[in-house]
């Protein structure tokens, strides 16, 4: 004896529609009568309704930063998006408060761990434009430390944010490769931060690259022109971060 699931039939279609209220009056009356007679149909209907109800109850709102970036896209063609100024500053301020509140509980000064949290967070501003003077760079910098344009490597900028951590500014640009590997690149303004609990993975051209173990993420940090740089990603492997960092 071989058992296999019953094929799609009218009652399956009717149960599907009854569960979400899209069944016709005739279907509904007939099926409700059938359900009342059959515990199996009643169980199937309950299962369908459980899924419908759970999904209907979803009340997730898109983050404010995404709304802002969509509005920006509506205003300008994607290829010519400028950075927002005042509105972005308001959003950045709100994010700053959240970050400071969450981080001030554990530390009163900037730390690489805090920068990693920012690099893995959501963007709050549109992506910066490409620098008009040098297409290999983006039109954003912190203390003259610029961000690279990795478009030629298949990494497109998707957003940015500016935070203050323990009195030091942290500028972050988010890049995405096709396929949704997302990388956050943060540069800390002011003096470099001490690196603790990191493992040296590469020293080249006078630059030391360190990997930090952070649960759930790949993290690479190094110093450029005296500034702490952090590349972090939930999906991209450390090897990809290292390749990007060396191209910086």
């Amino acid at each position: 004896m071989i058992l296999r699931p019953r094929k799609h039939d009218r009652s399956t279609a009717a149960i599907t529609r009854l569960a979400d209220g899209s069944a016709s009056e005739r279907e509904r009356a007939a099926l409700e009568a059938a359900v009342a007679r059959s515990p199996q149909l009643a169980a199937e209907l309950a299962e369908q309704r459980q899924a419908v109800t759970a999904l209907a109850a979803l009340d997730l709102q898109a983050p404010p930063g995404l709304h802002a970036r969509i509005r920006e896209l509506e205003r300008k063609p994607a290829s010519r998006r400028p950075r927002t100024t005042r509105r972005a500053a308001v959003i950045a301020l709100a994010v700053l408060v959240l970050v400071l509140v969450s981080l001030s509980r554990s530390s009163g000064h900037a730390s690489v761990r805090g920068v990693i949290a920012i690099a893995l967070a959501s963007a709050s501003q549109p992506p910066p434009a490409v620098s008009p003077r040098d297409h290999a760079l983006l039109d954003v910098a912190i203390d003259r430390a610029t961000f690279p344009n990795w478009d030629y490597r298949g990494w497109r900028t998707t957003g940015s944010r500016l935070d203050t951590l323990g009195g030091q500014s942290v500028e972050t640009v988010y890049y995405t490769a096709r396929g949704w590997e997302r990388v956050g690149y943060s540069i800390v303004g002011g003096s470099a931060l001490p690196v603790k609990g990191a493992k040296l993975v590469l020293a080249r051209h006078g630059v030391s690259y360190w990997v930090i173990s952070d649960a759930g993420a790949s993290v690479l940090t190094w110093r450029r022109d005296g500034h702490t740089c952090v590349l972090a990603s939930h999906r991209a492997p450390v090897s990809a971060l290292l390749a990007l960092a060396q191209a910086d």
């Binding site: 599907t16 899924a51 509506e74 396929g179 993975v201």
Partner: protein, 181 residues
């Protein structure tokens, strides 16, 4: 043929974000997917051939998602011997803070469904399209959408159910819905 009004699209951002999260299984990826979808749609004038705006966006979201995934599959992995040699532990799979939230768990469960089931569920139960609109957006028949939706909801409900009740339901289904051959 009506032209898609760019100014009205932002009203759909929240729903599209939930749909994108259900496709990607991650809120950060969802943000990027929604942004990329809007960037594509707004990149040039678009026309609705009898479609609802939201159905058009569902189609665009699905296409953007699939093309991104195909591109990721084609891209060769970057290898850095020095890093590989260190055997760095990568705990990415073990920690996803957003899954601690009920909504995150639900959408992560949806993201684990097979593509066809997931697209049908997202179109009808998350975006709120009619069966006919969903069929058109996904390029299939209405009857197929109905079947996929049934299966998707069934799998989702069983995935979310406590192990004991899932096993019990499975037993009921086996005894009642299987046929001799």
């Amino acid at each position: 043929m009506a032209r898609l009004d760019p100014d009205s699209l932002a009203a759909h951002t929240d729903r599209l974000y939930r749909a994108a999260w259900a496709l990607c299984g991650s809120p950060l990826d969802a943000e990027d997917l929604v942004q990329e979808t809007f960037a594509r749609v707004l990149g040039r004038p678009r026309f609705l051939s009898g479609q609802d705006e939201l159905a058009y966006l569902m189609q665009a979201l699905r296409n953007t998602f699939l093309s991104g995934r195909r591109a990721a599959a084609r891209r060769p992995a970057v290898v850095a011997a020095r890093v590989e040699e260190l055997s760095l532990s990568d705990g990415r799979a073990s920690t996803q803070p957003e899954e601690a939230l009920a909504a995150g768990e639900l959408l992560a469960a949806v993201a684990q469904l097979d593509d066809d089931f997931r697209f049908a569920l997202v179109a009808v139960d998350i975006l709120g399209l009619s069966y006919a609109e969903a069929a058109r957006a996904l390029g299939t028949r209405e009857a197929t959408i109905t079947t996929r939706l049934y299966r998707a909801r069934q799998r989702l409900a069983r995935q979310l159910a406590p192990p004991q009740s899932a096993a019990s339901r499975e037993g009921t289904a086996r005894s009642g819905r299987l046929i001799d051959e």
